[in-house]
């Protein structure tokens, strides 16, 4: 029997038992759908997180006070010493390194914003003009805290706050109070929405000296450093570390993280998660495989006399085996294709429902889904096919 005829004949058989075939195909399809949708979700989450990180800025090194590693390498921490402050002076020092394009010292806190008969608690960022390019933020109106204007009482409002406090849209140049201090609105941030857990539409930015005075601190929350070349990141990290050790009397009491490292870690974790989820979904494919085996075994006993006839007509055992394997392959392949379609539709629905989540099914998952469906289907068909091929023609013809 020619391969083409085998495939055609078994395809006709599949269509001859529509309900039975539909049920197996459905089981297979749901398994593949699960693989596709869950990996799309996992990979979507991965991309979402990566995107969030990238939107903070690229080529970034972040310095934070205190040491995040285990106490073993730092005897001071074991004895309960509080870490030294990370100061504006430190930041300026770092800014002088030649590979550093720009740096932004940062203070964060919250305070009450009052004006135009409104009052609300807001997140306050104390920074310099550099924070804008480093954090990839843009202004919608007005100007940012100009260079050298650190000391003037200027404030930049998030888009939503500007809208709330000055619905007329004439915020720039107006006066507003932040925790009993008077500021003049110099600009409004372009609306950006949520990044990394806080909404930049609902923050205010003031010069860093004002922020430190407001929060009564000399310690920085972070120093963001943007290097000129991505390839410099590691050497700058090391240079910054050395400089700060020197400035802090020989003690390493800061944590320096590079965005690359964080990104890579998240990427690894989420990839592993996606893979794990795909594996769990693949279990439903195995269940579908068992279903295929069961149904094919039933088919063999239902079609015993037909198998006997084919043998009487001169079909060798290999032909019979191939016919049943081809049938199992058709069922699982069709199931896999429907599963892919359903999976892509499901992912589309997720993307429509959650536009921030780029839930695109990864290509590898689709291919793996089809391959696994096909292999389980064919493996599940092996036993029934072998049983059919082994049937004794005389007994099979008499229906025994």
């Amino acid at each position: 029997m020619k391969l083409r005829d085998t495939l055609q004949f078994s395809f006709k058989t599949v269509t001859s038992y529509p309900i039975r075939s539909f049920l197996i195909i459905l089981a297979m399809a749901l398994g593949v759908t699960a693989v596709v949708v869950l990996t799309a979700l996992g990979d979507g989450a991965r991309r979402y997180v990566i995107h969030q990180f990238s939107s903070i800025g690229t080529n970034l090194i972040i310095v934070l006070p205190g040491r995040a590693e285990t106490a073993g390498s730092f005897p001071g921490a074991a004895m309960g010493q509080t870490p030294r402050d990370l100061t504006l002076e430190d930041a300026r020092w770092i800014g002088q390194l030649p590979q550093v394009r720009r740096y932004a010292p940062l203070n964060v806190g919250s305070a009450e914003l009052a004006g135009a008969s409104r009052l609300r608690e807001v997140t306050v960022l104390g920074g310099t003009a550099n924070i804008l390019p480093i954090r990839h933020m843009e202004l919608a109106q007005g100007s940012f805290l100009a260079h050298g204007s650190q000391h003037s009482a200027q404030i930049v409002l998030g888009a939503k706050l500007a809208e709330e406090f000055f619905p007329d849209g004439n915020a720039v140049g107006q006066r507003i109070r932040l925790a009993d201090r008077r500021f003049i609105v110099s600009g409004i941030l372009a609306s950006q929405g949520e990044t990394m857990g806080y909404n930049s539409d609902e923050i205010v930015i003031i010069p860093i000296n004002h922020a430190q005075a407001l929060f009564d601190t000399t310690s920085l929350f972070r120093i963001l450093i943007e290097v000129r070349n991505r390839s410099d990141i590691l050497s700058v990290k090391e240079a910054v570390r050395q400089a700060l050790i020197q400035r802090h009397d020989g003690e390493e009491d800061v944590t320096i993280i590079t965005q690359d490292a964080v990104l890579a870690t998240f990427d690894r974790i989420l990839r592993a998660l996606t893979l794990g989820v795909a594996g769990i979904a693949a279990i439903s494919l195995a269940v579908a495989g068992i279903l295929v085996m069961n149904v094919m075994l039933v088919a063999v006993s239902q079609r015993t006399s037909e198998i006997g006839l084919l043998k009487a007509l001169g079909a060798p055992a290999s032909d019979i085996r191939r016919l049943f394997l081809a049938e199992a392959a058709w069922l699982s392949l069709t199931g896999a294709i429907f599963g892919l379609i359903l999976g892509y539709l499901g992912s589309l629905l997720i993307r429509l429902a959650y536009p921030q989540l780029p839930a695109w099914p990864p290509v590898w998952a689709s291919l793996a889904g089809i391959m696994v469906a096909l292999t389980t289907g064919i493996i599940a068909g092996l036993l029934p096919a072998a049983r059919a091929a082994r049937l004794d023609p005389v007994k099979a013809l008499s229906g025994k």
Partner: protein, 223 residues
Amino acid sequence: MIQLSAITRAFHMGDQEIRALDHIDLEIVSGEYVSIMGPSGSGKSTLLNVIGLLDRPDSGRYQLDGKDVTDLTETEQARVRREKIGFVFQSFHLVPRLTAAENIELPLILTGIPPAERKTRVEQALAAFNLSERARHRPAELSGGQRQRVAIARATILRPTALLADEPTGNLDHRIGSEVMALLEDLHHTGTTLIVVTHDRELGLRAHRRIAMRDGHIVADEQ
């Protein structure tokens, strides 16, 4: 040319041994028309199955067209069956989900004949057996006589040298049965060896050579 020598086929039921065929010697020349009769359980079907290579004897030799086929592998036997033997059964054995034309096409598919040639040959067969108008009907939509005609068309489409019919009229009324026998005899006239197992004395007597069986033995063989 079919030559059986000392063919024995036994079945075991518990500790009891039933010899369905007991040292059968038989020679059937190509083109003969043979009927096999005998009481139920005398071994007629078993003999036909051995001749058709569906069943293997426990001992004895079987030569088909001068070649010993007793020890052929399963695959080789299937090939011989495909090329030289046509079966017609009492219960027709049509594939219910296939149309008449598709049932007739089966042996052509198994042999690997290309679709275009299959189509013309099936059409010829349908016409020869007066089934052209029933080509697209499924077995359930056909009468008993039509079903057996489809089965005969299928059995003969590869022009086998021997046609083995096991009670081909067993499920048909007398008139239709005679028509089917006439069809088989037509095929015999074109040179095919025809071996018919039947319970019907009248039909059996139409054969040129009549074999009678009892308890696995040939008890009469008259020309």
